[in-house]
Every structure is written in structure tokens, then in C-alpha cells.
């Protein structure tokens, strides 16, 4: 099990787009993943306020969700996002890293269901929350 998590962690850390956004896999365990993205001026959506673009936060939440699926105890061979809905509750505070925590709370033979929350330094007030469904490819029997 822990080998699988270590392996999934290495895979997640190697995704080119995740690397280009500066994402760091903070923690992965059975069906759960925490990924952090440092504040970066290139990712700003509104220069007047310095607030990060929603797209960067979506990418982080999508990555964390996929990571949670990959380390689910059902040991999927691969996964891809089917859909992801994100509610943006407040602008992320400029200068602060964003952390996404995803939980793969249910899987069927073919689909995984995920909940994900993004926070900045104030963890009591999430920046965004999302729910997603992911394809689940079972390893060949």
C-alpha cells in the first residue's frame, strides 16, 4: 500500500503542468492528497489586486483530486477527470500559497468521486471548494 502511495506521489510530482505551476505534493495517503502551490506573480488574474487567477486554482484542485484517486486503496491503473465543479468563495490573499486537500470518498468499478477544498493561510475560510468525478481504470486482472 505505502509503495503504491510513494509511486503515485512520484507520478504526481512529475506532471509537467503541475511542475510549471510550482506544485508540491505535501501529503498523500489512502484516497487523500494535499498539494500546495506557492504564490507566483505569473499566475495573477487581476493585477490591480494581485489575486491569483481562478484557472491556476482550478489546475491545483484538479491535480489534488486526481492524486487522491490515484492513491485510493482500490489501486487504479490510471485516472482522468470526467467533470469538476468549483465554487469560488473568496479571492485568495495575495502573497500566500494555496493548498488543495482532496478526498476520494467513493469509487465504483469505473468512476471515482472526489471532494476538494482550497485554502490560503487562513484555513478556517476556504478560498474554493469543488466536487469532481474521475474515470477509474482498473489494473489488468
Amino acid at each position: 500500500m505505502s509503495d503504491r502511495v510513494t509511486q503515485a506521489q512520484a507520478v504526481m510530482q512529475s506532471l509537467p503542468h503541475a511542475q510549471s505551476l510550482g506544485m508540491i505534493v505535501a501529503e498523500m495517503s489512502a484516497g487523500q492528497a494535499t498539494i500546495t502551490m506557492p504564490y507566483d506573480p505569473r499566475l495573477i488574474g487581476d493585477p490591480a489586486t494581485g489575486v491569483l487567477h481562478g484557472g491556476a486554482i482550478s489546475a491545483l484542485m484538479d491535480t489534488a483530486s486526481g492524486a487522491a484517486v490515484m492513491c485510493h486503496p482500490s489501486a487504479p491503473a490510471a485516472t482522468a477527470t470526467l467533470d469538476l465543479r468549483i465554487d469560488y468563495m473568496r479571492p485568495a490573499t495575495p502573497g500566500q500559497a494555496i493548498t488543495a486537500r482532496a478526498v476520494c470518498h467513493h469509487v465504483t468499478r469505473t468512476v471515482a468521486f472526489v471532494r476538494v477544498t482550497a485554502t490560503d493561510a487562513d484555513e478556517s475560510r476556504p478560498v474554493a471548494m469543488g466536487t469532481g468525478t474521475f474515470t477509474l481504470e482498473r489494473p489488468p486482472a
Binding site: P16, R42, P47, H53, G54, G55
Partner: protein, 164 residues
């Protein structure tokens, strides 16, 4: 009664291109993604030229779902802001040399559906404002690659409009 002669085409084009360039330059993240906008009259097509840093799964390889979502969101926001300011821009009420950028709509919810995996090549997106109110707007956006009739992702979003 004399009618005002139509504006020379260069004047019209340069005004519209300047307004669009200013809108796009106002979002640093668009530059990070490497997206740009093609304009035909008031119609915009967002273009995401392929770059290896957009890859999510190197094994397939496929575009990262997050990059796709971000591209759709950028296409939706720019279409909404562009169509909202069109009238003011055409009537010369927007100063292209102003120091501040126009305020952009804020995303409230964003829902993306992945229809097939994004191939390692250029992607295009077009957004439609389904409803524009004083406070809220709803936008639908679709992205495709080689074949316009085969979208690889679509999204629907609600935005909070900037205060006038």
C-alpha cells in the same frame, strides 16, 4: 441632411485590436498559459498553442485537465469582458492609453466537463454569454482541437459583474 462617413478600416481595426490587447494584457495568467485571442469583428476565438509544459499525463501524452480548465475559464472571462465593453469601446468611451485596466468579472462557479483527452497540439475555444445581468452573468464555453464538431471539453460558468 448629411450622414457621417464610415470610419476608415484601419482606424476601426486598430481601435479594436488595442482594446483587446489591453484586456488580455490585464491578465498575467493568460501570458503564463501562452493563450492568445483571434478576433473577427466582435467574435473571439481563444487559441492555446501547444507547449510541453501543458502536459498532464506524459504517458499518453495528454493536456493537463487543469490547463484545459484554465484555458476555458480565461476564454469565458475575456469573452464576457470583451462583449460587455464593446459598445463603450466602439463609441470611444474607453481610453486605450489609461493606466488602469478595466475591472474584470469574478468567477463564482465553474463547471467543466471533459469529453475526450486533450491531444498534444493546439487547442481553440469559443465562449457564449448566455445571460448578462447587472450583477450576474452566465457563460458557456467549448474547446476543440482538430475538429470543431468534436469538442474535447466544455464548461459553464457564473460570474459576478464588476461595479459600473
Amino acid at each position: 441632411m448629411t450622414r457621417k462617413p464610415p470610419e476608415p478600416v484601419e482606424v476601426v481595426k486598430s481601435r479594436r485590436e488595442a482594446a483587446l490587447a489591453r484586456l488580455v494584457a490585464g491578465v498575467p495568467y493568460i501570458g503564463f498559459l501562452g493563450a492568445r485571442f483571434d478576433r473577427r469583428g466582435d467574435e473571439l476565438t481563444a487559441v492555446l498553442p501547444f507547449h510541453p509544459s501543458l502536459i498532464g499525463n506524459p504517458a499518453i501524452p495528454a493536456l493537463h485537465g487543469g490547463a484545459t480548465a484554465a484555458f476555458l475559464e480565461v476564454a469565458a472571462i475575456i469573452e464576457l469582458a470583451w462583449s460587455s465593453q464593446w459598445q463603450d469601446m466602439e463609441e470611444g468611451r474607453i481610453d486605450p492609453a489609461a493606466e488602469t485596466f478595466p475591472a474584470l468579472p469574478k468567477t463564482i462557479t465553474f463547471t467543466v466537463d471533459y469529453l475526450r483527452s486533450g491531444l498534444p497540439r493546439d487547442a481553440y475555444a469559443r465562449a457564449t454569454v448566455t445571460r448578462r445581468g447587472r450583477r450576474f452573468a452566465t457563460v458557456q464555453v467549448e474547446a476543440w482541437q482538430d475538429n470543431r464538431a468534436k469538442p474535447f471539453a466544455q464548461a459553464s460558468a457564473h460570474f459576478l459583474m464588476p461595479e459600473p
